[in-house]
């Protein structure tokens, strides 16, 4: 793996300019939290990310792609060990990680990509129920980034039809908030006990998914099937009253089996575009709920405004009351919106948010962004979270924050 990265770097320096592309950025972010949290007194957090991506086409029809992340921070969300991480299974973000390393071969309508890659399905924004090969880094819940997965992806495209088959031999879980940080919100009673994280039981075996997409005259739609595991964990807890040092709760993360049947569609109309996406989540894991999750949204481009608004819902078909971390389900039963205004070629303004149907939780993010020259971008804004402790969004109400982001792209 390291050798492959080295080959790509060598290719860049060897002057294979016509067949070699690269890009990347160095980004430094500063977050200021006006309030402390019961388990986190830190109010100023800084982190830096260096991301490099490259693509090399050594032969007709063959392409190699690589991406590497290097990061650090002030809040110990990033591991301090300098080892190159492939699996993305650690609790903390790795200091060095392979985001992408894949080979793809295409001929006619066939395309095969194997290796670590990003696979995104679905047509909606903000929430994608059918996007099953897209685990995320949720260390800061409302600001997540996608993780690559190790998979083989075979695509056949002919005319209006595209068939996508994905097999992932290794499971990549979403990264969940750290226990000692503000994005893990514990009930007040938990302060009387010690919590011990026993780690994760990661499933073995592969995951499989198939997606058929059809582009018709004035509409587009897909059918999706997925068989594997949910990348978001459930928790299994055990009370240990006899533990040395007093009452202790031990918990372990595990990942329920998941079989999913989904669909999505996009229909551009005269005044707006209708997009919808829904999926039925079934599971043979006894503790996992079964449910239908759906998103319906309208979007419209009006002058320099890009507007998206919709509703995300959930209909539970089998309730088993699991304890888990489920930001996707946490965004259901909510109105979702996003507005973006391009002020000119250098400046933009965006606001997005979610508001619970019952009014018990809301999340709003607003940002202003401006480029300076060809390489620099400065973005400033705030995230405002309100609501009740019992609500998924509302529980993070002490985590409203302002942010400043500086990026150098190359």
């Amino acid at each position: 793996m390291r050798a492959a990265v080295a080959i790509l770097l060598l290719a860049a320096s060897a002057g294979l300019a016509q067949k070699f592309e690269q890009r990347g950025y160095l980004e430094t972010r500063l977050l200021v939290f006006p309030q402390t949290a019961p388990n986190d007194s830190g109010q100023v957090v800084a982190d830096s990310l260096f991301r490099w991506e490259a693509s090399w086409k050594p032969l007709a029809g063959l392409r190699l792609a690589a991406g590497v992340d290097a990061r650090t921070d002030t809040h110990h969300q990033t591991a301090r060990q300098l080892r190159l991480d492939w699996q993305d299974r650690s609790l903390k973000r790795p200091a060095l990680s392979v985001r992408r390393l894949s080979a793809s071969y295409y001929r006619g309508g066939f395309s095969l990509e194997a290796g670590k890659q990003l696979i995104r399905w679905g047509k909606a924004d903000i929430l994608n129920p059918t996007d099953r090969f897209a685990p995320r880094d949720y260390l800061a819940v409302v600001d997540s980034d996608f993780l690559g997965v190790t998979a083989a992806r075979l695509t056949y495209e002919t005319g209006a039809n595209t068939l996508d088959l994905v097999w992932a031999p290794r499971f990549t879980p979403s990264r969940t908030p750290l226990l000692n940080q503000r994005w893990t919100v514990l009930p007040p009673a938990a302060s009387a006990v010690r919590l011990e994280d026993l780690g994760a039981r990661l499933p073995g075996g592969g995951q499989f998914g198939a997606r058929w997409n059809y582009i018709g005259a004035g509409y587009e739609g897909s059918l999706v099937f997925y068989e594997g595991w949910h990348h978001l964990p459930l928790f299994e807890g055990r009370l240990r009253p006899d533990a040395p040092g007093g009452l202790r709760v031990e918990f372990q993360r595990f990942y329920p089996r998941l079989r999913l049947y989904g669909a999505d569609a996009a229909v551009p109309l005269r005044w707006f575009t209708v997009k919808g996406e829904g999926a039925y989540f079934t599971s043979s894991t006894p503790l996992a709920d079964e449910y239908v999750q759906y998103v319906a949204q309208l979007e419209r481009q009006s002058g320099e405004w890009s507007l998206v608004g919709g509703y995300a819902g959930e209909w539970i078909t089998a309730t088993r009351n699991p304890t888990g971390f489920a930001p996707d389900r946490g965004l259901t039963g909510a109105f979702l919106a996003r507005a973006n205004r391009t002020l000119d070629a250098r400046r933009s303004f965006a606001v997005e948010g979610a508001l619970r149907r019952n009014g018990k939780g809301s999340w709003t993010k607003a940002e202003y962004s401006q480029t300076f020259g060809q390489h620099w971008r400065l973005t400033g804004g705030f995230t405002w979270v309100r609501g009740d402790q019992a609500d998924f969004l509302g529980q993070y109400r002490r985590n409203s924050h302002a942010f400043l982001l500086m990026r150098y792209s190359f």
Partner: protein
């Protein structure tokens, strides 16, 4: 006016409209190519004189009204890898998707987006679309000399049922080589954008303006688009213009 006069006037108007349409049809016929490739450079100069540069590679397969095009941004670095796929249909509006590497997903762009400025430039998505001669009614207004060349001056209005952000456009067509020299686009009788073509060159037998300057009159900003490495009728493969092709590369 007697009946004969009315018939004569109507006939003259009809002939004039026909002539205008024939001129635009001839412009389109002469620009016809089975494929097109260029590297485009954009310079946006806003009302305060601040300059922003962008560049892209453009490939098109097919000809007017029934073509596929893909546009790949090459700079500035933060948009490198962003791609736009456009499928033009003869009988309906085009399908468009945008690929953003940061999202690792294509996103369908809707019909009503056509009036939106193209990545903050003074071109709207509609300005960069192919104009199908059948979508407009034309009127020949006369002739005048522009940039030292004798031109026909035409008016184009979108036909009923054909959507456009512009109420009407004035077109100047060079009489010697049948190319657009200038286009003025109006919204409710107010000039909104003026597009000037320059640096004409004959490439693969097709006269092409290699420099386009769009002036957004309302914002008082300008965008200059130049075509480098322009060529026509190159061999291109259908599979280059697909959704999965968008995913390839960065």
């Amino acid at each position: 006016m007697n009946k004969f006069g009315i018939v004569l006037a109507l006939s003259a108007g009809l002939i004039q409209a026909q002539d205008a349409r024939e001129i635009v049809t001839e412009v389109q016929r002469r620009a016809r190519a089975e494929s097109q490739r260029y590297e485009g450079s954009l310079r946006v100069i806003d009302s305060g004189g601040r300059v922003t540069d962008k560049s892209w590679q453009y490939d098109r397969l097919g000809s007017h009204g029934n073509s596929k095009a893909i546009l790949r941004f090459t700079s500035p670095p933060e948009v490198r890898g962003v791609k736009l796929l456009v499928l033009n249909h003869p009988d309906r509006a085009s399908d468009q998707w945008m690929w953003t590497p940061a999202l690792a997903r294509e996103r369908r762009i809707a019909l009503q987006d056509r009036s939106t400025r193209f990545f903050g430039t003074d071109f709207s998505f509609e300005d960069l679309e192919e104009r199908d001669v059948e979508h407009y009614d034309y009127r020949l207004l006369g002739q005048e000399t522009l940039e030292g060349h004798l031109c026909w001056r035409l008016e184009a209005r979108p036909r009923k049922g054909k959507s456009s952000q512009y109420t009407r456009s004035l077109l100047w067509v060079r009489q010697d080589i049948y190319v657009f020299v200038q286009v003025e686009n109006f919204v409710d009788n107010q000039l909104a954008r003026r597009l000037k073509y320059g640096d004409f060159e004959r490439v693969a037998g097709i006269w092409t303006g290699r420099r386009l300057e769009m002036h957004d009159v309302r914002r008082n900003s300008r965008t200059i688009l130049t075509f480098d490495k322009l060529d026509y009728n190159l061999p291109m493969q259908e599979e280059t213009f697909t959704l999965q092709a968008l995913r390839r590369g960065l």
